[in-house]
Symmetry: D2
Subunit: 304 residues, 4 copies
Amino acid sequence: MNYNHIFSKIYDTLEETENPGEVASYIPELKNINPNKFGVHLTTLDGHHYSFGDSDEKFSIQSIAKVLALVLAYQLENEKLWERVGVEPSGTPFNSLVQLEYDKGIPRNPLINAGALVISDILISHFNEPKKQFIDFVRKVSGIPGIDFSVKIADSEKSVGYTNAALVNLMKSFGNIRNDIDDVLDFYFNLCSIEMTCKELSRTFLFLAGYGVCPYSNEQIINASKSKRINAIMQLCGFYDEAGEFSFKVGLPGKSGVGGGIIAIHPDKYSIAVWSPRLNKKGNSIRGMKFLELFTTETQASIF
Amino acid sequence: MNYNHIFSKIYDTLEETENPGEVASYIPELKNINPNKFGVHLTTLDGHHYSFGDSDEKFSIQSIAKVLALVLAYQLENEKLWERVGVEPSGTPFNSLVQLEYDKGIPRNPLINAGALVISDILISHFNEPKKQFIDFVRKVSGIPGIDFSVKIADSEKSVGYTNAALVNLMKSFGNIRNDIDDVLDFYFNLCSIEMTCKELSRTFLFLAGYGVCPYSNEQIINASKSKRINAIMQLCGFYDEAGEFSFKVGLPGKSGVGGGIIAIHPDKYSIAVWSPRLNKKGNSIRGMKFLELFTTETQASIF
Amino acid sequence: MNYNHIFSKIYDTLEETENPGEVASYIPELKNINPNKFGVHLTTLDGHHYSFGDSDEKFSIQSIAKVLALVLAYQLENEKLWERVGVEPSGTPFNSLVQLEYDKGIPRNPLINAGALVISDILISHFNEPKKQFIDFVRKVSGIPGIDFSVKIADSEKSVGYTNAALVNLMKSFGNIRNDIDDVLDFYFNLCSIEMTCKELSRTFLFLAGYGVCPYSNEQIINASKSKRINAIMQLCGFYDEAGEFSFKVGLPGKSGVGGGIIAIHPDKYSIAVWSPRLNKKGNSIRGMKFLELFTTETQASIF
Amino acid sequence: MNYNHIFSKIYDTLEETENPGEVASYIPELKNINPNKFGVHLTTLDGHHYSFGDSDEKFSIQSIAKVLALVLAYQLENEKLWERVGVEPSGTPFNSLVQLEYDKGIPRNPLINAGALVISDILISHFNEPKKQFIDFVRKVSGIPGIDFSVKIADSEKSVGYTNAALVNLMKSFGNIRNDIDDVLDFYFNLCSIEMTCKELSRTFLFLAGYGVCPYSNEQIINASKSKRINAIMQLCGFYDEAGEFSFKVGLPGKSGVGGGIIAIHPDKYSIAVWSPRLNKKGNSIRGMKFLELFTTETQASIF
């Protein structure tokens, strides 16, 4: 299938409608982005690439990186991981403390902030140089040595990161954080600061379409069963309290970030990355979601 | 693939472990069931049948019937339906009033009790003889004229149905119930009283594996897009607050009932019904879930 | 102290400010009231009367009657009463189901709707003719034979009383309602329909200033300890989620109703009834609260 | 009235019953206290003193000190104070984050932890040497120069104070904390570490029985209106989610601390301090509450 043609057709449709929403504004570094950027990149398991628009421009992948941290932690901890974090959708906004207090410090899933903080804590416990060893893992998975944290973004988030500090302190009070709070927050803010282009993002996540195998290197990043389970978690928990909406309209497992990026996986076929910085009230890219809805409708390709 | 052999092998594995949990006890009619019943039936789109155990014995499908009511209401109302009910997982127990009050009478999704009550209200508004017309629809979908409500079960539930009466009154106070409260409850309790065997259940839901087409009659019950969306809703909302657990371990869209039944759909392939009356604390069949987990592991077949 | 002069002075002050807020509109009978009505009546334990404005006009005392039902139920059940209802402020809006679900059907206190429904259920269990026997009690306490329910108001509330029906069904599901739901609702709506003038209201509640003794008849309605405890409950729970505000600014135990009435008690001194139909968002009379704030400031008389 | 005799009589009654409950154990310094300590001290406005048991032994007054911080902040800020903290009872446990998130960072009242953290923040903004200037205020009010913080207790609490760190971070994220988080926590933990004997505690709070005037020095600490309002806040919010219970059974404004102390005020009459370290599940002294219940019953003296 020639996806390039479909991309272009859908983009024209989108252009005919207004582009509402605002870019994330809670830190200056994110606010300065051009809100009208738009990029797509699709990589198939058999090595084809299709791209459109600003697909070669770096952006902050933000929460999308939480999936990579989860993959690594799951690999290291196996099923023991689920003693410290759940796999259920949150049903409430992404930074909610209510659920966490009710569940005695166990986050509902690893893709909400609280869950990613626990995953960060777990990775810190495993590594001597957590940040270095994590970014090395991301570079290995993507096959792209240049991928890196953005110190500027990480510092900027840290300066206003009171909600995350509240979450990590609350979990520490319940005994579900083992390391120093400042170390956990430092790792977490770096994790969310990673920058990629759509092309790099699509390529990085391709192993989740390939049952855990990275098709470039033929390396098994994670086994098939775990790879499927990561997809299942993305399906149910990848879009905060819009997970149902995304599943309903797009029908693929995926994850969004407040930088405006979305990654979606079609198991056994491809991974697709979209980037459009204007967000809806729930913190998800408006055009990114709409693009993927039209794309899976047009190609009649969803997992359902 | 010869599923019969796999069924038998998994059953042997299950038999080696204890069978904990209790049958639903809130009404006498459900409590009297033999807790050790176990049945499976799988129907493929191309007409093969595989069964095991008590697969020809009728049981109360309970909440599984909510999916059929949803299908009919979606067919009648199209996207307007979503003004009165959401598509997000509930994140809280299945009879919770908290969410409903917070969301001003709009249930999170059509598969929790509140949502199914709204769906019932919608169907009543469309029909002159709602119960008759609904059961006719179920008979048409299944191709089995003998399928019916159980008056005994419906009456029994009605006599203790105070939580559902609370839900429907609350939604009426918010204006999201249009018909008489007693009529809505009567329809709802009848809906949940439908009885099927595993074989009938599997056959009835096969159209959701076939993109909306019933393979027996070749009739398009619902179009492909809607069929996929029904599956997406089941994936995210079909197991109350264990939807994540089921997705994570089984990886198929499905729906459970407190009668101990579970239906699961593998799009483009098959539908499978399991029945085992002992439930966990969340109201889902313990052996039913475990069986399906082992089944999709063994056959390496999930949607992820 | 000549209260008449103070009443008039405060009224002049109030008249200089605008009179915002709306009358309760959820039933037509309440909506038809002239929103600018204003009446006050203060009765001292030693038999003096002070009144102002529309103090001889009947209005619907609504939730204020819950205190009288509580008095009677406490008298009949003694400390056993507190097994079925708490004494803690609710901290949430007056018709909230959240708290009730969390507390497994035990209302936080007897002055929120749920609590008054449990009190109604208790009174029904004690009496053959609950409504007649209750109104006889009110007549005895007040010494006014003409006090009665308003059938029109009760019927009107019943026709839209879905929230209360939700509450009573929910409590029935937890086993905290023993009688038929329709009987409980019928009693409750009649309870809330009682009509009094400010003068009658002040006179009726005077026994709570007198440590349980009705000064007209010298009858001990309730013993001193119970009388104090009723006042304590009013202090903490009498104004829904504005109990703190009322305590802070007025400093007397009291109870409001959505008809715009407020009763307040100065133990050992007097009872005072105010009526002004315009309500704030929390369902309390705006001018009634402000009047009492200025009154206790002016007279330097609060319990603190 | 000779209170000494009553004290002794009530103590004998208490001794006949078992003394359940545990001392606060979350920090070692509190855990090491002898759980069977018991002291009472009552000071009347006209200068009489009545004491019993270990009334001259220092203990950690903990949250009772929050009232003193509130008094000072109210004096400095006047009614502007209530823009940053409410006056409503919390209805939920004392360290709950739920309410705080729902109310966008505005604590329900100044006596729950979150509220006292905001009060701490306010005091820091007013002073150059906040801790010194606050303890000077406490010494002035009590007329006892030796009253001081316990560095050991403050440090001990700081080392496990993750819940309070969560609260202050959450409020900072809503903009309701103006100073550095570490400074606020340091002030707060010192505030809670103040040590007094029952005699000192009773004497320190006597001005709240005297409409704001300290009877020793004749100094007006706070005006009469504010003094009454502080009492009103204690009445509704002084015992976490047992404020209703305390009002119902004791009928005086008061405040408890997890060190086992309770202060209660009888306006125009006396202040009474009780100390018994064993706590109930809600964090209040069991014998302290029971003693005061029996005391106000015996003396027939409550504000109601």
